[in-house]
Amino acid sequence: MPASSAPAPALPAEPPRRRLPRLPLPGLLGLAVILFWLATALFGPWLLSPEANAPGADEVFGRLGAAHPLGTDYLGRDILARLVLGAGYTVGVAIVATLLASAGGTALALLAAVRGGWADGTLSRLMDTLISIPSKLFALIMVAAFGSSVTLLALTAALIYVPGVFRIARSLAVNINAMDYVAVARSRGEGELYIMRHEILPNMLGPMLADLGLRFVYVVLLLAGLSFLGLGVQPPEADWGSLVRENLGGLPEGAPAVIVPALAIASLTIAVNLLIDNLPGRGER
């Protein structure tokens, strides 16, 4: 050790620089798009006239124009307005469901990995049981039992994706649980919660975030699928998935009504993945 390396001043030697998340450009772009859609979902509806869901008098499957910037749908309604109203469902329900699924699955996986044995076996078999029920069928049962509502949709989508998250998180956590630093923490007398939260979780965050991005796409697709079956968001309300579905008739005409919501879904999912892939500390692993 060169003794000249530092004159070792009194502590702290270096001002504790709180690392601001310095995002690379693609990450910033992703963040911007997500914030844009969030803002749209939150504040957009106030800027619209209350009759946005009522059938319009205008042309069906209209082109882009001054009156309707993004064209009109199969009932002549303004697509822009429909998109803004749908943003709440897609962004809200999909994000809530994804976060719930990821948080729940990860927490259960950590518990299974750290406690092992009996708890691990029970949780793993329970998840296997859940995964063996076809997701659409499961959603059908849920809707039949409790009736369709936005809360139920979010919970159902979360429940459907918990086992998948659990599987991935558990396999990561089991590997990390075998690391020496976890053994050191155990032999230091740390509790399970500390080991789960401080020793294991930070080291599996990267892959879990990547998984979150992927799950988000699945949830959006699942919600669209449910809407298609008439089990999702009920008309006249519509999430983006249902917008694509209900305007499918415009596809032969190349109507913007079908392309615009699809582009909106694409922009949101790409943005979520851009942001997650560029979060600080992800590149090194």
């Binding site: 050790m1 070792a8 702290p12 020496d180 053994a183 155990r186 032999s187 230091r188 007398g189 020793e199």
Partner: protein
């Protein structure tokens, strides 16, 4: 790109003959965070046909990078930026990618450090050994197999005719390393690159592999480059040595000159680190006081317990051990001997199946959950690989702060001051506190690993191979530090290692484990190489004797002097509970060793031994 038609191999040396290698002004750059920087700075060296040149240096000295460049290969993120490499008449760096591929495995062969990672587990060994010859279309499969069997024989592999039918997991690590040599030599390369081929092996295996390598290299007259950090190994293998540091040549000379009369300061420091000097211990332990740690009749293992309370995979059996206050006890044995399991049992990570562990005379509960916080604090474990022992997501400050908060309830300024003192104690600048382990060097990480254990203010530190992953010079510094801390803080160590030199340098007593049994314990003074059965000065267990003799010595001709161990046939029938070393023992007694459990006897002058032999010479005398 090149004018030479490489497919016709113009410079392919005659089979079994090495080529001259000339390297001029070799420069290699690596891409870093701040653009490209040079990691090998203009090396010049030559290798005469049939000569073995050793590249020696610490990790990061560029020795592997240089060796790979001889094949025209640069690792991911690296680039050969200048200079020339000539093998025979071939200008390696002037060839295009396809021609370089034709060169590799044929004119230049590479033997990697970890054979286990280099073999495909799902194909037979023969399939893989003949592969280079088939890829380069040098010979038919039948001819290649005949040649492979001949090579197996040359390399002293057991059952050379049938070993090729096995899969990689069915042979030992030492055999795999020799099979990899066969794979490299099958195409009669003009130059062989051996990259730390024995570093991952136990010393008793290493000596056999070294002997096999040297014989084939000498007999074939192949030119070779031997990359290693171990000077004692180099002294046996190389004709000339090139000492590298930070990608630049420090010294190039004959092996004898480098070993006996090094001209460069850095070479001298490497040589000094290879001769570990005994570190002074603390004041002599009081033999009458209650021992700090005592282990009695311990058995442990992994897997579910059977009806008799023994685990499915027993590792340790019948271990007795005493550590007195201020003492350092070395535990030595080959991989799989149960050294690490012993440390884990003492630390409470593995519950013992039988026997007991006492701390200061008080029984320690078998599992962590039942140990008190104070009992946990007093025993700290330091793991071998600092990379996995330090949480990569925590800063150094946080790593050190946790035990201080947990055991001593420190916070605020007192905590900060204590962290700074700990960093000072392990001789690190306080600026590292804010860094993550990923930003530290191997030696620095190991110091943090040690500092975390010290933070608990323990009485006993279980040090599991703490210097094995480090370079010799860095490892020596860590050993010095540990010896110093022992004097200053009155710590006791249970020092686990596979390296007899290291253990001898720091420990008061050496305990030898073999197959989970304690076969011998000797005081430090009697753990020397020159003693033992051969001189008759003291009884020594045949395994310890083998171990001591297998540690390479830093002088020329050691490998030749050390007689090859005659291949021992495994003993036939045996009684349950007989000696565990029976199959490998060169001095076993038929009718005794295979039928009776060996007795445990105390030796005059301290120590114990578990062997029938120990009493036989005495009976004869």
């Amino acid at each position: 790109m090149s004018a030479a038609p490489p497919s016709s191999a113009p410079a392919q040396a005659a089979p079994g003959q090495g080529a001259a290698v000339a390297v001029r002004g070799l420069r290699i750059a690596a891409k870093g965070a701040s653009g490209e920087h040079t990691i090998v700075h203009g090396l010049d060296f030559d290798i005469a046909p049939g000569e073995v040149l050793a590249l020696i240096g610490e990790s990061g000295s560029g020795k592997t990078t240089t060796a790979l460049a001889l094949m025209g290969y640069a690792r991911q993120g690296c680039r050969i930026v200048g200079g020339s490499v000539r093998i025979g008449d071939i200008d390696v760096l002037g060839l295009d990618a396809a021609a370089q591929r034709r060169l590799r495995g044929r004119t230049v062969a590479y033997i990697a450090q970890s054979a286990a990672a280099s073999f495909n587990p799902s194909r037979t060994l023969m399939d893989q050994v003949v592969e280079p010859a088939l890829i380069h279309r040098l010979m038919s499969r039948d001819e290649a197999e005949r040649r492979a069997v001949a090579l197996f024989r040359e390399l002293a592999l057991p059952r050379p005719d049938s070993i090729g039918q096995r899969y990689p997991h069915q042979v030992s690590g030492g055999q795999l390393q020799r099979l990899m040599a066969a794979m490299a030599l099958i195409s009669d390369p003009a130059l062989v690159i051996l990259d730390e081929p024995t570093t991952a092996l136990d010393v008793t295996t290493q000596i056999e592999v070294l002997r096999a390598f040297r014989r084939v290299v000498r007999e074939r007259g192949t030119s070779a480059v031997y990359v290693t950090h171990d000077l004692a190994v180099v002294a046996q293998m190389a004709d000339r040595i090139l000492v590298l540091r930070h990608g630049a040549a420090r010294e190039l000379g004959d092996t004898r000159q480098i070993i006996e009369a090094p001209a460069d300061d850095y070479t001298r420091s490497l040589l000094a680190a290879a001769h570990p000097a005994p570190r002074a211990g603390g004041p002599a332990a009081d033999a009458t006081a209650t021992p700090l740690l005592s282990v009695r009749g311990l058995a442990a293992g992994y897997g579910p317990r059977g009806a008799d309370g023994m685990p499915a995979v027993p590792i340790l059996a019948d271990i007795d051990l005493t550590v007195r206050r201020g003492q350092a006890i070395g535990v030595i044995g080959e991989s799989g001997s149960g050294k690490t399991t012993l440390a884990r049992v003492v630390a409470g990570l593995v519950a013992p199946a039988r026997g007991e562990v006492l701390l200061d005379g008080a029984l320690l509960p078998p599992t962590l959950a039942r140990r008190s916080k104070d009992q946990l604090r007093r025993i700290q474990i330091v793991f071998q690989i600092a990379d996995t022992a330090l949480n990569p997501a925590h800063t150094v400050e946080r790593i050190l702060a946790r035990p201080l908060q947990l055991y001593h309830g420190l916070s605020g300024a007192a905590l900060q001051a204590r962290i700074a003192r700990l960093l000072d104690l392990v001789q690190l600048p306080s600026a590292v506190a804010g860094r993550l382990p990923g930003g530290l060097s191997g030696g620095q990480k190991q110091r943090i690993n040690l500092a975390r254990a010290l933070a608990a203010e323990p009485d006993l530190i279980l040090a599991d191979e703490v210097t094995s992953a480090l370079d010799t010079v860095v490892g020596a510094a860590v050993l010095d530090l540990m010896a110093e801390l022992r004097r200053e803080l009155g710590l006791s160590y249970l020092f686990i290692s596979h390296d007899l030199n290291t253990v001898r340098a720091v420990c008061d007593e050496v305990v030898v484990l073999y197959a989970g049994r304690k076969v011998e314990s000797v005081p430090r003074e009697r753990a020397g190489v020159a003693e033992g059965m051969a001189t008759g000065s003291a009884a020594r267990h045949p395994y310890f004797d083998l171990l001591a003799r297998s540690v390479p010595e830093l002088r020329l001709g050691w490998l030749d002097e050390t007689a090859a161990r005659e291949a021992q046939q495994p003993a036939g029938a045996r009684a349950a509970g007989c000696c565990v070393f029976l199959d490998r023992c060169p001095v076993r007694l038929a009718g005794v060793c295979d039928s009776l459990p060996p007795p445990r006897r105390s030796l005059p002058g301290g120590g114990e031994i578990l062997c029938h032999r120990a009493e036989v010479p005495a009976a004869r005398a």
